[in-house]
């Protein structure tokens, strides 16, 4: 009897990502955002989530993926972090998957760049690979100066 974990999954530039379901507060459709001038590029803006102000982090920017097409509206995956709720902007929401622990592997050595720091591990699913994000690290501002 192997243990399983549940993951909330989403797509980014064709890649399949997941975060642990327990860390996700809610998933909501596109929300209007107030941009923050002078903020790092990964911060897309601020969202009013029932009276709570939530910072929206553009995961494409955070993971150094090409920017979303102008017409494509992102979805919000609101995760709980040490610093309160933070919204992760993603292309599309996938299913909640229950996956056995034994499919888990450390990220391959060949993974480069920011993804190397943020991807905790990889699950080999039949049809594709699921990349698990470290939410705590993901919502931290990037340490280098690149925007």
């Amino acid at each position: 009897m192997t243990n399983t974990k549940q993951f909330c999954t989403f797509f980014l530039n064709g890649l399949f990502f997941g975060v642990e379901v327990l860390k996700v507060q809610e998933v909501i459709r596109y929300q209007e955002m107030t941009p923050v001038p002078l903020a790092p590029g990964m911060i897309r803006g601020l969202i009013n989530l029932r009276g709570q102000i939530v910072t929206a982090v553009d995961l494409r920017n955070r993971l150094e993926l090409p920017a979303r097409d102008a017409g494509q509206l992102p979805m919000n995956v609101v995760v709980r972090s040490e610093d309160g709720a933070v919204s992760l902007l993603v292309d599309e929401i996938g299913d909640v998957l229950e996956i056995a622990d034994d499919a888990y592997e450390a990220p391959p050595e060949t993974l480069r760049g920011t993804a190397r720091d943020l991807v905790e591990g990889v699950y080999q699913l039949q049809e594709r690979l699921l990349l698990i994000l470290d939410t705590e690290k993901t919502v931290q501002p990037r340490t280098d100066n690149k925007n």
Partner: protein, 732 residues
């Protein structure tokens, strides 16, 4: 004994509410300790509980409670430092001790007296645990005054203390715990958020119904409107309190402390009415009390020492609170002995907090920061008052917990100032809403002075440029300007609108004024300040964010940060210059000024008292001596300096007119000629330096005859042109 009956009552009430709760916690933590599940924090918590009870009761003259509390505190201090280990008898004794405190407090609640019960047996027992004390009796429990559970709830006053023929409790109204309840702040927070949402929903409904003609719906909407507003106000009121509530007990604390220590202290409190959120009030209460005690105990010297230092016998302690730049500032200033940097370093070295290498490199400011390290205290002796090591580190932790910062400024011998800055988290403030680059921004009203709207020609001509720095003349005062679009790198407003109308929001920050140019001024609104996430903490332009009536988020501008970024207010150095200039202006109100232009058209002025003569020389008479242009003048050789060459370049190239206009300046028998473009006028007026210029050759700018005029730094220019002029002058 009571300084003021009401005050005394209030203090006792506070002590009771707080102590009952914390003693219950104390008991729980004791049980945790006994089970051996306690972390390091547990001992700190219980220690602080007792420390606070001791301190508070001592402050209001409840010596008996203070004495009992003190015994336990010493014991806990040993436990905390690992000099004693936890044993069941020890825990029992401490629980008994907690019960004794509760009994005394209950007695206080019901009779207003501390009770006559005798606790010497308990104290002995407690003291017996101290290392070096006589071995304690075997019986862990089973004797002592309070084995009968005295914590029975009221009303059972007499039964609670066995030794008690206590003052028969007159049934005086409901007890504290009946009229007041303590509500978790998170509940209030949630309530607040919900009300905020309700307000938004209300706004939408009211907007919709405005278009309908249906009577019932309209009525209902109106009622909803009124109720929501009232609800909002009530909820907010539950959270806001003037800081005076915390300060009310300080006069007494200071007085008693000063008396105990034979010192003379005058306490000045400013800004009592500054309203703070309940969360913040709670969080700063203890730190502030601690700082005040520290100042009296360690800061202010004895009258004798003060006399010796040439200060008045009476020390001054100033507490000041005010809102600034979207923050609450609290300053605690004393004129005592200040902080001795050398001693701070020495102490930190002794305690192994820093290495000698680090010590040598520390600046004064960094050295002061050492005071905030845990386990740091420069005072050798542990007094009843302070210096037990529950010190500045706790102060700092508590303030940082609510997102604030503490800063110490001190000069040895002159006193120390502690500056606490607390963000307005959750505070509700009136704000002006403006639009720039299509985005809305809220500006806290506290920073707002006035609004200026320039239209048409005024907008195009009203704003002048001083070497690239835009300024506006506001009733004869020079107002440096910053453009919000530019500062925030926002898109510019559609060009047509920008040319016709200029909106200037006149703000003050750090004691100086500046104008913020925005695209549009919308309205004033009450806003709820919400903090920004950690990812955005680095941006000093924003004090937080808020949710507007339409449910969208708007950023709140941090006026001070913005002004610093735009360089419209600058370093302290400039400010002191300005103050000097102001002081000079007061001393000598009206000045006679010579107004002239340099050869490249900049409008300049110097005090007429500096001018020896005005002369005209045909260019043909100008000769050269080395690199220097000179002219023969009254049998002397007069060096000529072209003023324009020593000013920062502007557009036009300097060309001297013919004949050359020269202002002759004399100093101790030597003269020098300042070649200028044109002498304009001599005016008599009060000189107000408006803008400190960090530019060569210019002291600052003023409005003279309705025009922006730079004040020429004559000695500076001469020094630049002829470094020997002043050195050799006395000899000549």
């Amino acid at each position: 004994m009571p300084l003021n009956d009401n005050l005394q009552q209030q203090l006792i009430r506070d002590l009771l509410v707080e102590s009952f709760d914390s003693l219950d916690r104390f008991d729980r933590e004791m049980l945790v300790l006994e089970k051996g599940q306690a972390g390091a924090e547990t001992l700190n918590v219980v220690f602080r509980i007792i420390h606070t009870i001791k301190g508070s009761s001592g402050c209001i003259g409840l010596t008996k409670i203070e004495n009992v509390a003190h015994a336990g505190e010493s014991l806990l201090s040993l436990l905390r430092d690992g000099k004693l280990t936890v044993t069941p008898p020890l825990i029992s004794a401490l629980l008994e001790y907690s019960d004794a405190l509760k009994a005394m407090l209950r007695c206080l609640e019901q009779t207003g007296q501390q009770g006559s019960a005798d606790y010497s047996a308990l104290l002995q027992k407690i003291n017996a645990f101290q290392p070096g004390a006589a071995p304690q009796p075997k019986a862990a429990t089973g004797f002592g005054l309070f084995e009968e559970e005295p914590a029975a709830p009221p009303p059972a006053p007499a039964a609670s203390a066995p030794s008690a023929k206590i003052e028969a409790a007159p049934k005086a109204g409901p007890s504290v715990s009946d009229t007041a309840i303590r509500v978790e702040l998170t509940h209030l927070d949630k309530l607040m958020n919900l009300v905020g949402e309700l307000v938004l929903a209300r706004n939408q409904i009211v907007q919709h119904t405005a278009q309908t003609k249906e009577g019932t719906l309209l009525n209902a909407a109106q009622r909803l409107n009124i109720i929501t507003t009232e609800l909002q106000e009530s909820v907010m009121k539950t959270r806001m309190q003037p800081i005076g509530n915390v300060w009310a007990k300080f006069p007494r604390i200071v007085r008693d402390l000063a008396q105990e220590l034979d010192k003379k202290v005058q306490l000045i409190m400013e800004g009592n009415e500054t309203e703070l959120d309940r969360t913040i009030i709670e969080a700063i209460k203890d730190p502030l009390t601690h700082i005040v005690r520290n100042s009296v105990d360690h800061g202010i010297e004895t009258p004798a020492a003060r006399r010796a230092a040439g200060k008045p016998e009476q020390g001054v302690l100033i507490l000041r609170a005010f809102h600034e730049g979207g923050q609450v500032n609290i300053e605690i200033m004393d004129d005592g002995r200040g902080i001795d940097v050398a001693r701070v370093k020495e102490k930190a070295l002794q305690r192994g907090l820093i290495t000698p290498d680090q010590a040598a490199r520390l600046t004064h400011h960094e050295a002061f920061a050492l005071v905030f390290l845990p386990g740091f205290s420069t005072v050798e002796k542990v007094t009843n008052v302070s210096g037990r090591g529950v010190g500045m580190d706790v102060v700092k932790t508590n303030i940082e917990k609510i997102g604030g910062s503490v800063d110490i400024l001190s000069e040895a011998g002159q006193g120390a100032t502690l500056k606490i800055k607390i963000p307005l988290t959750l505070a509700i403030i009136p704000a002006l809403v403006v639009t720039s680059g299509g985005e809305r921004f809220a500006i806290p009203q506290v920073s707002l002075l006035e609004l200026v709207r320039l239209e048409g020609a005024q907008a195009r001509q009203g704003i002048e440029s001083l070497y690239g720095a835009p300024v506006y003349r506001l009733r004869g005062q020079l107002l440096p300007l910053a453009y919000l679009n530019r500062e925030l790198k926002l898109a510019n407003a559609p060009s047509g609108a920008a040319d016709d109308i200029t909106n200037i929001v006149v703000l003050h920050a750090d004691g100086r004024q500046f104008g913020l140019v925005v695209d549009e001024i919308n309205d004033t609104e009450e806003i709820v300040v919400k903090p920004l996430g950690k990812q955005l903490k680095g941006l000093n332009c924003f004090a937080g964010a808020t949710i507007m009536g339409d449910g969208k988020v708007a950023l709140i501008l941090d006026v001070v940060g913005l002004a610093q970024n735009a360089h419209v207010i600058s370093e302290i150095r400039d400010r002191t210059l300005l103050e000097q200039a102001k002081a000079a202006e007061k001393a000598d109100d009206r000045q006679t000024l010579l107004v002239f232009s340099a050869s490249h058209d900049a409008r300049l002025a110097i005090p007429l008292s500096m001018v020896a003569r005005l002369e005209e020389f045909p260019r043909a008479l100008i000769e050269r001596s080395g690199h220097q242009e000179v002219v023969q003048y009254r049998g002397q050789i007069l060096p000529l300096i072209d003023v324009a060459k020593y000013l920062p370049k502007s557009g036009a190239a300097p060309v001297l007119s013919d004949p050359v206009q020269v202002v002759v300046y004399s100093e101790q028998g030597r003269s020098i000629g300042l070649a200028v473009g044109k002498i304009n006028d001599i005016v008599q007026q009060t000189l107000t330096v408006q803008r400190q210029a960090a530019r060569d050759g210019v002291l600052g700018s003023a409005v003279i005859q309705d025009k922006v005029t730079d004040l020429l730094d004559v000695p500076g220019i001469i020094r630049a042109a002829d470094p020997t002029f002043y050195q050799t002058a006395p000899a000549a």
